[in-house]
């Protein structure tokens, strides 16, 4: 079952080619890892999928629908959600509000109803608060739920960001280096959350990560990028043994480690 199909996608910035004729398929329910050297265009690809960049050529098809020209918020409504390489939380808002914002597309109340806090708005707030509390429990961040996220430690912020993306109840979850800057123990936690999400919610995920250990262990399939082109694709073990990948990305040591 294809959830997302990318056809011949290209992206240019002035003279820089960030993506060049990239085609890719993501199947429902899988965890697809994208790896590649810095500046290979991994984040750019996610940006194209979530609508922050407009590709110069090519198509993006999500659940059978061409979304290439849709603005980001429309894609969110269709069920695409993401986290960012450098945490992009709403710094002055509490953890709760941040995750509530993830529910935005599922809520309806407008200005009037919200300002009067009457009827729909009030009912809705309570109902969605319940969902949000579940996510908070799941990510084990109960103790900080009322704190402004700007004050939290890095690792916790990463979790909140995951929570916010999750609150949208996405079909497709894009994770851009969720484990960067974490130590081994925290990586383990994050890996556990990702696997649980896949298992319990059945969410499809695209994961960018530089830690090969993690990639090899938790992804179903791996795609490798270099200079904006896809240079390899396959199950983790296959990719790891691919000489092109070793040369461009892993280096000798990593390649042979297994």
């Amino acid at each position: 079952m294809k959830l997302l199909t990318i056809e011949e996608l290209s992206l240019h910035f002035g003279g820089v080619t960030a993506l060049c004729n990239v085609s890719l398929q993501v199947n429902k329910g899988e965890i697809l890892a994208i790896i590649g050297p810095n500046g290979a265009g991994k984040t750019s690809l996610l940006n194209c999928i979530s609508g922050l960049y407009r590709p110069s050529a090519g198509r993006i098809i999500f659940q059978g629908r061409d979304i290439t020209r849709l603005p980001p918020h429309r894609r969110a409504q269709l069920g695409i959600s993401r986290t960012f390489q450098n945490i992009e939380l709403f710094k002055h808002l509490s953890v709760l509000d941040n995750i509530m914002l993830g529910r935005h597309v599922h809520m309806r109340a407008g200005v009037l109803s919200g300002g009067l806090y009457w009827g729909l708005a009030q009912r809705e707030e309570v109902a969605h608060r319940r969902r949000v509390e579940e996510i908070i429990d799941f990510l084990e961040i109960e103790s900080v739920r009322q704190k402004p996220v700007g004050m939290l430690a890095y690792g916790l912020q990463k979790r909140v960001e995951l929570g916010r993306a999750l609150a949208l109840e996405p079909e497709l979850l894009l994770l851009d280096e969720p484990m960067a800057g974490m130590n081994a123990e925290e990586k383990e936690d994050m890996a556990r959350f990702i696997l649980d999400i896949a298992e319990e919610w059945g969410t499809t995920m695209i994961l960018i990560e530089h830690d090969m250990g993690v990639v090899m262990d938790i992804s179903d399939r791996v795609v490798v990028f270099d200079f904006g082109r896809k240079i390899a694709e396959g199950v983790p073990a296959e990719v790891q043994a691919n000489p092109r990948v070793i040369e461009a990305y892993l280096g000798q040591q990593m390649g042979v480690e297994r």
Partner: protein, 263 residues
């Protein structure tokens, strides 16, 4: 060369982050500082380089000595002039300047401008990639390129002590290896003393001479690299190794999840 004695750091007058931390960096060596998120590693570096003030933080107790002089709570620029250069977390290159202008800005504290050309050549020698990108605007470089630039910029200042804050953050494995190789080279060929903060304990310990491990604002373990590598906890929590070798993230999951359900 550098010594921190019982340093306490407080943010916003109330948040106590460093709780009596002591460490020392001998001249010409590479010292690694490891620790979990939020342990206060960055804070330690900022305390040394004087950048705390910009964030409303202060060293409230203890002393920081550099080459025999007390530099506790001094201005950042003064400390930099004395030869300490911090490469900040998250690279922080000057986005709108070109690569070369970034490097020139790095040489600001140098008194003699005559060596500018030579210094530039040296940086380009270590990072040939930067030479190709000379005239590109730094804000659009990829993460790894920016990291190279940040280190290159530090080199331009010819510091006695270089503080590196998570140089591997977000870099591809190949680059991580390369950058650490260059760090080692710089240390050996230029004689620059280096204090490096890293999450990637494997690689950090592979080039360092000495290591500190901190938790919660204090040093909990220190020693020669070899000794650290043997330590049980370090192996488990920092190197991700178990008795049977490398553990799998999939297995971790089941183990932890069971624990969560039981608990």
């Amino acid at each position: 060369m550098l010594a921190l004695n019982n340093v306490e750091v407080v943010y916003d007058r109330v948040i106590l982050v460093l709780k009596g931390l002591s460490l020392s960096v001998p001249e010409g060596k590479i010292v690694a500082l490891l620790g979990s998120n939020g342990a206060g590693k960055t804070t330690t570096l900022k305390a040394i380089s004087g950048l705390l003030q910009a964030e409303n933080g202060r060293v409230t107790d203890g002393t920081i000595e550099f080459c025999g002089a007390d530099i506790t709570n001094r201005d950042a620029e003064e400390i930099a002039r004395r030869g300490i250069f911090q490469v900040m977390e998250g690279r922080r290159v000057f986005e709108h300047l070109t690569v070369e202008e970034n490097l020139i800005a790095g040489s600001y504290t140098r008194k003699d401008r005559r060596h500018l050309k030579k210094d530039l050549a040296l940086v380009y020698h270590y990072f040939p990639r930067l030479a190709d990108l000379k005239h590109r605007v730094a804000g659009y470089l990829s993460g790894g390129e920016q990291q190279m630039l940040a280190i290159g910029r530090a080199l331009m200042a010819r510091p006695k002590l270089m503080l590196l804050d998570e140089p591997s953050l977000g870099l591809a494995p190949l680059l991580v290896a390369e950058i650490f190789k260059i760090i080692k080279e710089i240390n050996q060929q230029e004689g620059t003393t280096i204090l490096v903060v890293e999450q990637n304990a494997n690689i950090a310990l592979s080039i360092a001479d000495y290591g500190y491990i901190m938790e919660n604002g204090k040093i909990v373990l220190e020693g020669d690299v070899a000794k650290l590598k043997d330590n049980e906890d370090v192996r488990e929590f920092y190197l991700g190794l178990t008795d049977v070798g490398k553990k799998s993230y999939r297995n971790v999951k089941h183990y932890k999840r069971r624990k969560r359900w039981l608990g």
